[in-house]
């Protein structure tokens, strides 16, 4: 029995070193600290007025403050004035929300959508969608229990899929040398994956690199995925937030579906609606027809009910109100574009300062070509540590920065710090 527990622990990354069988909790080892949280804590403790937090994965406005979208405020007031009750939502959530979320992602012309063949459930934001998806695939996907994730990927993907019961493998993605997409490596790894394996694809604004395939590269990937009969599982946490254009950011997803792939999709409204803490998201699967959709739907409920019964209503009502009202929707589109544009302008600014003003050694084009909230600067762990300790500029060890943390007030200082650390003069 203890051996079984030990096996489970090893599988989930916990060593059996500290097994103490006598006390109730004798076997509880210390959990690993969360790397992102550590940065925020160090940042909070730092008294230097020039400090910058580039670890945070949440949008900040030009004053470095959290941004509550006007449309969200309006929608919240509208929902409150409607006097909705607090009753339980169905297991799969607010139906009008999930219908509108599906429309947003797949597009009105999408065949599975128009056929009524998209099984969809509201989820606890993107994390919850991935977790339900992982669990659903582990239980019902007939061809494989293996999921391929890019190297690197969002840190939480790995424990999340492992806990779902899938085996996690990796495909090459980031070319460190050139700070670019390792497209040849990517293609090669997918071509040598076992037939029928699941492949996790970041729909847009790859986290953490900010490097996305081009439309042509997506088309080539579609071909390979089809050839190897791989199952595409899209993680779309930044629709609208990446390029500023809702449809453009959904290109990869919509292209695959139009090409006849059956897909799964995890959707988040954390960033594009700024609803982070309200945990608003959806998980969907495209199926063959309404009958199949009903069966898949029933199994999603079986997964959800013993985990949390039904999802929280507040965020879903806000999102649904925005997506369902023409005026609010239009205003939302422009607010999302505003956020995306501010980030794009910060990218341009940094590139210009480093390349033209400071003439910092190295090639910095990737900062401009990368997309979305994050950027892989290309800085190494020693450099990122120096930046934290000497310049009070905080980012994750891998050189990832959240562009949202930059603004007109700190971008010059940031660029100067990067310049100094690259030159070794920090």
């Amino acid at each position: 029995m203890l051996a079984a527990i030990a096996r489970r622990r090893v599988a989930t990354g916990i060593t059996a070193k500290t097994l103490r069988s006598v006390s109730t909790w004798g076997a509880v080892p210390q959990g690993p600290p969360d790397p992102i949280l550590g940065i925020t804590e160090a940042f909070k403790a730092d008294k230097d007025p020039r400090k910058i937090n580039l670890g945070v994965g949440a949008y900040r406005d030009e004053h470095g403050k959290p941004y509550v979208l006007q449309t969200v405020k309006k929608a919240e007031e509208a929902v409150a004035s409607q006097g909705v009750d607090k009753e339980y939502l169905p297991i799969t959530g607010l139906a009008e929300f999930t219908a509108r979320a599906a429309l947003l992602a797949y597009g009105a012309e999408s065949e599975p959508l128009t056929k009524g063949a998209v099984a969809i459930t509201q989820s606890i934001s993107g994390t919850g969608a991935l977790r339900i998806g992982g669990e659903f695939l582990a239980r019902h996907y007939p061809h494989s229990k293996v999921i391929y994730v890019p190297t690197p990927t969002w840190g939480n993907h790995i424990p999340l899929f492992r806990d779902s019961g899938l085996e996690v493998r990796h495909y090459r993605y980031f070319d460190k040398q050139n700070v670019a997409l390792d497209f040849e490596g990517l293609k090669s790894d997918l071509l040598s994956a076992p037939e029928g394996a699941i492949v996790l694809l970041h729909a847009c604004a790859h986290n953490p690199t900010g490097i996305d395939p081009t439309p042509e590269q997506w088309e080539a990937l579609s071909h390979i995925v089809k050839e190897k009969k791989l199952f595409p599982f899209f993680d779309m946490a930044y629709q609208g937030f990446a390029s500023g254009d809702i449809a453009r950011d959904a290109f990869a997803l919509r292209h695959f579906v139009a090409q006849g792939h059956q897909v799964a999709l995890a959707q988040s409204f954390a960033k594009n609606m700024g609803l982070y803490g309200e945990r608003t998201g959806a998980f969907s699967v495209t199926t063959a027809d309404p009958e199949e959709k009903a069966r898949v739907d029933s199994q999603l409920k079986i997964i959800i009910r013993p985990m949390y019964s039904n999802p929280p209503s507040h965020g879903a009502r806000i999102a649904s109100a925005i997506l369902g009202d023409q005026a609010l929707y239009t205003q939302w589109e422009s607010e999302v574009k505003g956020m995306a544009d501010r980030i794009i302008s910060m990218r341009e600014k940094i590139y210009n300062i480093l390349t033209h003003d400071l003439k910092t050694p190295g090639e910095w084009g990737h900062i401009k070509t990368q997309i979305g909230m994050f950027s892989y600067t290309g800085l190494n762990p020693e450099q990122t540590q120096a930046l934290a300790q000497k310049a009070h500029v905080y980012m994750t060890k891998d050189g990832r920065i959240s562009m949202a943390g930059l603004n007109a007030g700190n971008v010059e200082y940031f660029a100067a710090s990067v310049d100094a650390v690259v030159r070794g003069t920090l």
Binding site: M1, T12, S21, S23, T24, W25, G26, A27, V28, P29, G31, P32, P33, D34, L37, A58, P66, V68, A80, D85, K86, E87, Y88, L89, G126, T127, G128, H140, P142, N156, E216, E219, G260, Q262, A270, G274, L275, Y276, G277, E278, R279, T286, T287, A288, E292, A294, V296, S298, Q299, I302, R305, P306, M307, Y308, S309, N310, P312, S313, H314, G315
Partner: protein, 427 residues
């Protein structure tokens, strides 16, 4: 690249062909049937949510107040909560159930996690046990017979096998106390027992304080683990502290335990999913370990919990005025239910003089009541009287109101007497 592969191909159908259709929940079906029933006097006694005297969902006045405050607070944003939840909320929630003077809290031995309501707390607690508890043999949990329908699925889902313990005696329509103690004694040492803190769902039958102490004696003797589920604090008797008595008593006695807490019913916040898991450990060091591991488990499933409901409850718990108002609102709900119990009892015993004993309707506690009706009688209630209730005899007292209680009593009486054939079209 050749454009040949750009030609769309028909959707393949071999992916989800084998996915079976799972039948919907019984209660869900019951409610669905109720909704489409055109019968004018229909009554829904299956609902597990409070209803006011007009059979409407009731948003607590204190919740309306708290909601308005949040809406008008311009300093609020929608940022992520910490992984373990809103600190002001979890701290206050712990004090509410464990007591503000609890040694578990003052000694830093209690770990509190904000969860997706009671289900989320049960799931996280079960998951935590499945990973770290030193089970004596294969992982099992002892669940009362009967218990909340979802308990079985929650534990099975994390690889813990549910086993029944004797709880309800259909002959007395009360607690099978001897059977309960027997099950505790016979279970292997260190077994995990799920206990309903108050207002047992679905029977409404709770142990008395004396019985709780006897239960506690055996639990301590056999080093059993108490997995408390508390979904009705304040809602059972109308008194917060009274309803928390068993949990606090066990903490004082040093029983290893955790408690799942829900604000779905007592704050009427069902759909906002506000709950918490409190794990009481033996010392601060172990508590810190447990906290770090719970954090890891939470992160890989939901990331961090939903903000809105927790903010509402935090406001209510931490503002003395709102807290007092909340207690009043709870008394309103608990009070109405107790009135309905009295009404129904009076109608059955004094007006209709229905055969059998009906004391249990008065003595049972909380939202539900096990009427004592058998399966056939329950079916008759649904099919003949259009009174929707669970097949095990459970009725939701919240579904009773001044407009429906007479009809329910009359129908119960007829069904018990076997005269349901008289009921059909004359109403």
């Amino acid at each position: 690249m050749s454009p040949a592969y750009l030609t769309p191909v028909p959707l393949p159908t071999e992916l989800w062909q084998q996915v079976p259709l799972e039948p919907p929940d019984n209660i869900f079906e019951l409610t669905a049937a109720y909704k489409v029933d055109p019968f004018a006097k229909k009554v829904n006694l299956g609902v597990g949510a409070y209803r006011d005297d007009d059979n409407k969902p009731w948003v607590l006045p204190v919740v309306r107040k708290a909601t308005a405050r949040l809406l008008n607070d311009d300093t609020l944003d929608h940022e992520y909560l910490p992984i373990l939840g809103l600190p002001e909320y979890t701290t206050a929630a712990a004090k509410l159930i464990l007591g503000s003077e609890s040694p578990a809290i003052s000694e830093g031995r209690a770990v509190s996690v904000q969860t997706i309501s009671g289900t989320g707390a049960n799931h996280l607690g079960a998951l935590f046990l499945s990973r770290f508890y030193g089970f004596n043999g294969p992982a099992k949990v002892y669940l009362s017979n009967p218990t909340w329908v979802n308990h079985h699925a929650i534990f099975r889902n994390v690889g813990i096998e549910p086993v029944d313990y004797a709880y309800y005696d259909p002959k007395t329509i009360g607690l099978d106390f001897t059977g309960f103690l027997d099950a505790l004694r016979k279970a292997p040492d260190r077994s995990v027992f799920l206990l309903h803190a108050c207002a047992h769902n679905p029977t409404g039958v709770d142990p008395t304080p004396k019985q709780w102490d006897a239960i506690g004696d055996v639990i301590l003797e056999k080093k059993l683990f108490a997995f408390f589920d508390c979904a009705y604090q304040g809602f059972a008797s109308g008194d917060m502290d009274l309803d928390a008595w068993a949990v606090r008593r066990f903490v004082d006695r040093g029983v290893p335990l955790l408690v799942c807490q829900s604000f779905a019913k007592n704050a009427g916040l069902y759909g906002e999913r506000v709950g918490a898991l409190h794990v009481v450990l033996s010392d601060k060091k172990t508590a810190d370990w447990a906290r770090s591991q719970l954090s890891v488990l939470q992160r890989s499933e939901i990331g961090n919990p939903p903000s809105h409901g927790a903010r509402l409850v935090s406001l209510i718990l931490n503002d003395p005025e709102l807290f007092t108002e909340w207690k009043r609102d709870i008394e309103t709900m608990a009070g109405r239910i107790i009135d309905m119990r009295k009404e129904l009892y009076q109608l059955l015993t004094e007006v209709y003089k229905t055969p059998g004993k009906w004391d249990h309707i008065l003595n049972q506690i909380g939202m539900f009541s096990f009427t004592g009706l058998n399966g056939e009688q329950c079916r008759a209630m649904v099919e003949w009287a259009h009174i929707y209730m669970a097949g095990n005899g459970r009725i939701s007292m919240a579904g009773l109101n001044s407009h429906s209680v007479e009809y329910v009593a009359e129908s119960l009486d007829k069904v018990v007497r076997g005269r349901q054939s008289v009921m059909t079209s004359d109403v």
